[in-house]
Symmetry: C2
Subunit: 397 residues, 2 copies
């Protein structure tokens, strides 16, 4: 089966927002082994939507649409699907129930008249929206499945997770579970080369995907999934950070919580990005005690970095270790992490090259310091540095 993902809304065409719905839908489809033929964004214009539907149903069997289900005259997805399929829009009691349910949930009065969201193409199935007004719908037409979800990401995700994805899982992997692996620190092509012989045995059931920087996801499906998984696992052992579907920072925060280990940070070149990433995970206050951002020489002095450390250089392994110690000692955490480096774009009065980053980690009497020469622009260097710091943290606990 081949799928096409469509996003509907003028805001998508203006670059005001990115179609994040297409991203999570695509990732889940890859996991299920459903090939995505293309993604398309189109505006709130009925003719454009209909001509897009004509094009995509020519090249794919499963059409996943998000957006254009709201109450205003700009929301034309229902009308376009009706026009394209020839199925008239009919009132649906079930859709109305969904809408009333949402209004009661929000304790909002339900106005007179029948809302637009209660009409769906004849014969289509209502897909219940638990977090918004407009239900989605699923219609089968000329052997093509057209699935329509609201554009608001939270709502699209709700219906996707609770109904659509589950149903696709039942169709595609009922008897064979899907195995997941995530590795850190290798490029996509390196991962591929390490398991190329295994991939060649069952190429359609092994997928390699790029996640966060330096994070690679593998999905393994099919009858031999278990065996393939075990072999791949053995081959990539030292790089694997999870066999669940979670990111490195999620794994680290979970592990810290389980083991009741606390962390504090002192970040120079990353300017708070590591702390920001950790505290982005709900409940991280259990394990993150606090952080410093000694961005300048002055700030490092204020925090108590002794002058002989400056002799080694503001960007040095000695500085990274000292920052880690200061973070740990000041906040009385179990682990301290220090990051210093030159993120660029210009080297400034720094003697170290752009992209050179030192990371220090102290824990009990243990000290781990590593330096990296990272490639990319400022934002990339900062985000790679944080990923390496998280990996060092993971390996230490």
């Amino acid at each position: 089966m081949e799928a096409y993902i469509i996003g509907i809304g003028n805001e998508l065409l203006r670059g005001s927002i990115v179609n994040t719905n297409a991203v999570f839908i695509a990732q889940d489809l890859v996991k299920l082994g459903i090939r995505v033929k293309g993604m398309l964004n189109v505006g709130d214009d009925i003719n454009s939507i209909v001509s897009s539907l004509r094009f995509v149903t020519d090249v794919a069997d499963l059409i996943l649409i998000t957006g254009g289900l709201g109450p205003t005259h700009d929301d034309l997805t229902r009308e376009a699907v009706s026009l394209f399929t020839g199925l008239p829009l009919v009132f649906s009691e079930e859709a109305l129930e969904n809408i009333k349910y949402y209004f009661s949930l929000r304790k909002r009065p339900f106005g007179p008249g029948t809302p637009k969201e209660a009409f769906i193409p004849k014969g289509s199935e209502v897909l219940k929206n638990n977090v918004g007004v407009a239900p989605g719908f699923w219609v089968r037409h000329n052997n093509k499945d057209i699935v329509v979800l609201p554009g608001v990401p939270r709502e699209a995700r709700d219906i996707w997770e609770n109904i659509v994805k589950k149903r696709l899982e039942n169709l595609y992997s009922k008897d064979n579970p899907i195995f997941t692996l995530r590795v850190f620190g290798l490029g996509e092509s390196t991962v591929e080369s390490k398991i190329l012989d295994i991939i060649k045995e069952d190429p359609s059931n092994i997928d390699i995907l790029i996640g966060e920087p330096l994070e690679i996801k593998l999905f393994i499906r099919g009858e031999n999934a278990q065996k393939l998984f075990e072999r791949i696992k053995e081959r990539l052992e030292e790089y694997i950070f999870t066999t669940d579907d979670e990111s490195l920072v999620e794994v680290v925060v979970k592990k810290l919580k389980e083991r009741k280990i606390t962390v504090a940070t002192a970040e120079s070149c990353t300017g708070g990005l590591l702390a920001e990433k950790i505290t982005d995970i709900p409940g991280s206050s259990e394990i993150f005690k606090g952080g410093f951002i000694p961005y300048t020489r002055w700030a490092k002095k204020i925090l108590g970095v002794p002058s002989y450390i400056f002799d080694a250089g503001e960007v040095s392994l000695e500085m990274a270790e000292n920052l880690a110690r200061i973070a740990r000692d000041k906040f009385s955490s179990d682990i301290g992490i220090g990051i210093t480096g030159n993120a660029g774009p210009s080297a400034g009065d720094n003697t170290k090259p752009v992209g050179y980053v030192c990371i220090g980690l102290v824990k009990d009497n243990e000290v781990i310091c590593k330096d990296f020469q990272l490639e990319g622009d400022r934002a990339r260097v900062r985000s790679l540095a944080v990923q390496w710091a998280l990996d060092m943290l993971r390996r230490s606990i």
Copy 2:
């Protein structure tokens, strides 16, 4: 003129990466007044690319393609454009010069044989790539303009900024400059309602776009641009933070640099996001002295928040002000900013509702404290809080 943007590459269809090229191209097209009919991502498959080209040239005149220009057998954009237009791929001396130039720049040896990147559809124009190997090309076919750029964002942006955008500007706004305005703190619909009468006079030459959270961009074009701009400016005066094409954080950092004012931060609920955002701007070390992330009660005590402040609550105006003072005093900066709040998802043992955030700013003898009830999930609340802090900072300098 109507445009269609195409991204080519399997990684786009797998949700591994987002087509960021489409975003900046779309935003620039809106500014120029060129309507985007749609955006489409397609895989490294020649038939899919050709059928996509057939579809998009049916609905648009200017086709902007990124990706598939590399040296591997997966890179098929040249071949697809050749197949679609019927123009054979021919060797281009100019393209080869571009490739050699890049190799010399990187001091890499230029291997034997003619690289694939030196072939372009007959009659097309080479678009020089200053930061990578593969030049782009521009071909006119059946009254349609097909412009092809590399997929690497840095390279796509280089050719876009230096050649394609400039040429489109010459075509569309040669005699009339485009005016830009950015406002903070209003929603898109509020901005629209405030200037609806002006928009109605020349709707095709006034565009409103969503930028960063709470930032709205306005583009004004056409013969009456100057007059329209002045009137809109008067109407939105108090909300405008720039009449240049730059974001709020860029404006704030620039202003601080110009006036030689330094800043320090102490962030609780935003966990370092404000510092991270400021230090993301190159050269921010001139104005950012350092930051604290007192994420826990413990960390706040360690930093020296006196116990009577805790009586007012960990999330309180008093705490925000105190954190601001500590940041300023410890790092000897001109301005201190403190942020405390409840980002959710659960209220925890916090007595304040999810989304409630207090921001304090101290400068000389001046103290400004504000509280906000922000809407959205954890990430949204944190990013809105940071935006409001930046706006308070902007207004104070």
